[in-house]
Amino acid sequence: MPRYAMVIDQSRCIGCMACVVSCKRENDVPPEHYRTRVLEMVQGNFPDLTTEMRSELCNHCDNAPCVNICPTGASHHEEDGTVQIDRDKCVGCKACITSCPYNARHINEEHGYADKCSFCQQRLAEGKKPACVATCIGGSRIFGDLDDPNSEVSKILRKTSHRVLGKSIGTGPNVYYINQYPKRA
């Protein structure tokens, strides 16, 4: 069984939002809600500035607060390590939304269930990469199986220093960030 993870090479992200729209279309995400977003964070004073482009999505945590808190078992881990939501079991209590430190979830108001990034479970079943990865113009989003030492994610994590968001909270995220700011002269 694979163990899925995403690596985000922030240096390659050009902030074009192709991932965001692709996700909305693939997963029919309702208006004004998103399963993924791209933040552009600029620091410094003119002209000494740096930017962090940060794609954010569900971290599919190993120790997922949303799974731990879900009263009905709707939020659960799949064998492939991903966190998924069984919509039939979800009662829309929003406990998961408040527990998620990554602000990755929303309520689908039309149907009443909680929703979030699934790593495009339906595409994985077809042997395709998640929609955001498939269309990432900058090649910034990289996806694969951590248990396969030859997968692109395993290889890049072996040779590049990386981090996860909110490491100290102990959620064990499966979205990794690599970043190499160009040195400014």
């Binding site: 090479d9 240096s11 390659r12 992200c13 050009i14 902030g15 074009c16 939002m17 192709a18 965001v20 729209v21 692709s22 909305k24 279309r25 693939e26 208006p31 004004e32 552009e40 600029v42 410094g44 004073n45 003119f46 002209p47 500035l49 740096t50 930017t51 482009m53 994985l124 079943a125 077809e126 042997g127 395709k128 990469k129 498939a134 269309t135 990432c136 113009i137 900058g138 090649g139 910034s140 996806f143 694969g144 190499q180 160009p182 040195k183 400014r184 002269a185």
Partner: protein
């Protein structure tokens, strides 16, 4: 849609490696649909959410387009689509679309129309056109366009005997650049795309080119690839753009002084002996003249003029030379900035030549080599122009695409002859041309304005007759020649039937020909029949294009780099790169670019500069659901210190007033460290004043409204539009 294990295996076996998580979604659109079964269809076609013409594949289920993805075979998309491309479905199913022909039923601008049948609307247009041609001569009919519909109405106009045809893409955009490079190299710096070999570049220089925000798919893929593997970016921009955030050198130049920096760089490259001596010797003429002409442009002087640190000016160009020739100074695209723009483009072209980038890896690849036989579907010759067209204005080097504002001027003055009808196809002239007051004045002088478009834009709602075109997902267009590193041919074909009573532009143009008694110029049967004959004439397998891959390449056409047996061909008089231009000299212009200072804003006034958002194409996409959701309104970028001084808070709504007292809609202030103190910036295309665009109407500000001043480039007629100064009115 169920995807059984059995089908999956079938699909996996078809795809290149058959591996799980393969990126290649199909070998053949038809085979892929068959493998999935059910009511699924995959249609390879060409995107038109912008004009990069990416290959797209539409997934159609039960007659509805449900998904668009990038065509992996097409070199402009490489399996990916940008935000706009993904959102094309939003354009197709937008409730605000023009749905049926309409004829004006009130005064111009009142917005009162009556519904008409196609027959009635086309009769009306044809009768008026004939009457105008009879009274004023065929030359009084003009056409302005952007994108594919222009082809079909160019045909109508030429058949009538008029050549007054112009495209804003020339004088309001990239025509200036193209002319400068043609003067220097005898070639444009690209057709389908700029011929920049970014994926192999070691240093990339960007003058205002805001890749990332200016979302041209394949070029951005290559830019990110370059950044990812550590290429150095030198970004010259008064604004800390996305591209600047990836740069090793960000040069926040004083707006309007780019040519000072370029000429100084040329001086440094020559005086420090950093140029490619062998290349210059072999392929260029006029080196000594350039050497003498740039001597006066010293780094000390440039530092003062550009307000950049001298050290940065010198070090950045040395870094550039260190990696030459595997470097490129990007030729740029939108070039109508300050009114002396041909010479800026010439300086970029000359610098590239000195570094030897043309035909070098990581520089600019050589044009693909492919010959397509002529094809006009056995249509007769056009009658000669009734009178010489006015599309070149007084500009000796204006290109064949024409100078739009020259037609506008003649429409207003009636000199040297009256222009009384405009067909406007696929362009919102009120937003494309500077000084909307003049555009409106010209329109008010017309006896007939015909708009062919998708949406009720400002310009469309001034028309006498509105002819609703169908979207790119509902129509055939001619086969596209795609010129990237290789030459190829791509198709646009309908994924679904046209909705409402909309029609493809080819049909509208063809029916109009028939109504005008010009049957011989109408389509012979239908457009697909024509495309099949075109494919045959070009030796292309039409079925391969339409059913399977959507794109075919021309074998052996890719010859990107200079080798002993692949020498560059320069289409100049000297057959070399003309560093010194006798052509320009012959018309009384500087044969080597000179720096001409421009006017700068007084205290409390800011130069208005503008640019693009990656999720919008000009003013065309603001109303598109998912794109509007991501960016509903634009913001004015204002330097933090200036904002503090003026008491403007981030997120506060303000109004801008320009030097002519013209004010824009209220617009949000983005108070930021990311821009110089002497200019403000906004994304172009917002601030619609078009109630029929229910989402986009009145959101954000329209930069073009504030661009009442423009300076014409004397060489090409390009309209410098970054010459307007605004003050900030806090009470919105």
């Amino acid at each position: 849609m169920a995807f059984s294990r059995r089908n999956f295996l079938k699909y996996a076996a078809m795809s290149a490696g058959g591996t799980v998580l393969a990126d290649t979604p199909f070998i053949s659109a038809e085979a892929r649909a068959k493998a999935e079964g059910g009511n699924v269809k995959y249609v390879p076609t060409s995107c038109e959410m912008c004009f990069w013409k990416c290959g797209a594949v539409a997934k159609v289920v039960d007659g509805k387009v449900v998904k668009l993805e990038g065509n992996p075979y097409h070199p402009q998309s490489r399996g990916k689509l940008c935000a706009r491309g993904q959102a094309g479905i939003g354009q197709l199913y937008d409730e605000d679309r023009l749905k049926h022909p309409m004829i004006i039923d009130g005064a111009r601008g009142e917005g009162k129309y009556r519904k008409a049948s196609w027959d009635e609307a086309l009769d009306y247009v044809a009768k008026k056109m004939k009457a105008i041609a009879e009274k004023y001569g065929p030359e009084s009919l003009a056409m302005m366009s952007h994108g594919s519909p222009g082809d079909y109405f160019t045909n109508v106009l030429k058949a009538m005997g008029s050549r007054n045809i112009a495209f804003p893409s020339f004088a309001q955009c990239k025509g200036i650049r193209d002319v400068a490079w043609e003067l220097t190299y005898g070639h444009k710096p690209g057709t389908s795309c700029e011929r920049v070999d970014l994926e192999n570049s070691r240093v990339i220089v960007l003058f205002g080119t805001h890749l990332g925000e200016n979302m041209h798919n394949s070029q951005n893929q290559e830019f990110a690839e370059a950044v990812g593997r550590g290429a150095k970016i030198i970004c010259v921009d008064p604004r800390y753009s996305t591209a600047a955030s990836k740069s090793s050198f960000w040069l926040p130049i004083k707006p309007g002084t780019d040519t000072a920096l370029l000429l100084t760089w040329i001086n440094i490259v020559i005086s420090e002996g950093l140029y490619d001596k062998e290349y210059v010797e072999k392929y260029t003429v006029g080196f000594d003249e350039v050497k003498d002409a740039v001597k006066e442009y010293t780094p000390e002087w440039a530092a003062q003029e550009t307000e950049l640190p001298m050290r940065q000016i010198v070090e950045s160009v040395r870094e550039l030379c260190r990696y030459a020739p595997n470097v490129v100074v990007h030729p740029g695209r939108h070039y109508s900035w300050y009114g002396n723009d041909t010479q800026r483009a010439r300086a970029v072209a000359i610098l590239n030549a000195l570094l030897g980038t043309w035909g070098r890896k990581g520089g600019m690849w050589l044009p693909a080599k492919a010959k397509f036989s002529g094809f006009n579907d056995a249509a007769p010759e056009y009658p000669p122009a009734s009178k010489p067209p006015l599309i070149k204005g007084d500009f000796p080097f204006a290109g064949g695409e024409g100078v739009t504002q020259a037609l506008r001027d003649a429409t207003i003055t009636g000199n040297p002859y009256p222009i009384k009808a405009w067909i406007v196809a696929g362009t919102n002239l009120m937003k494309a041309l500077p000084d909307q007051r003049l555009t409106r004045k010209a329109i008010d002088n017309l006896d007939l304005l015909v708009a062919v478009d998708l949406f009720p834009t400002e310009t469309v709602m001034l028309a006498d007759v509105i002819l609703p075109e169908c979207t790119y997902l509902e129509r055939h267009d001619g086969l596209f020649k795609i010129s990237t590193r290789e030459a190829g041919v791509a198709i646009r074909q309908p994924a679904v039937e046209p909705m409402y009573e909309t029609k493809p532009a080819w049909w509208i143009g063809s029916e109009l020909c028939k109504k005008l008694g010009l049957e011989q110029y109408a389509a012979k049967d239908n457009w697909e029949g024509r495309m099949r004959r075109q494919a045959k004439a070009w030796g292309i397998d039409y079925d391969q294009l339409s059913k399977h891959t959507g794109y075919v390449s021309i074998p052996g056409s890719e010859k990107p780099y200079i080798t002993e047996d692949n020498q560059p061909v320069f289409g100049t008089f000297s057959e070399k790169i003309e560093l010194y231009s006798e052509e320009l000299e012959g018309e009384g212009f500087d044969p080597v670019p000179k720096y001409e200072p421009i006017e700068h804003p007084e205290k409390d006034m800011f130069r208005l500069i503008y640019g693009r958002s990656p999720v919008h194409t000009f003013s065309r996409t603001v109303n598109t659901q998912w794109l509007w959701e991501l960016e509903k309104e634009n913001e004015v970028w204002l330097n933090k210190k200036e904002a503090d001084r003026l008491g403007v808070k981030n997120g506060q709504y303000i109004v801008l007033e320009n030097q002519d007292g013209v004010r824009c809609n209220k617009v949000k202030a983005k108070v930021t460290e990311r821009i110089r103190h002497d200019c403000v910036y906004m994304v172009h295309g917002f601030g619609h004043n078009a109630p029929g665009l229910t989402r986009a109407n009145q959101s954000g500000a329209d930069d073009q409204q504030l661009i009442t001043k423009y300076i014409e480039d004397p060489i090409t007629g390009g309209t410098g539009m970054r010459v307007n100064f605004v003050k900030i009115i806090k009470e919105a």
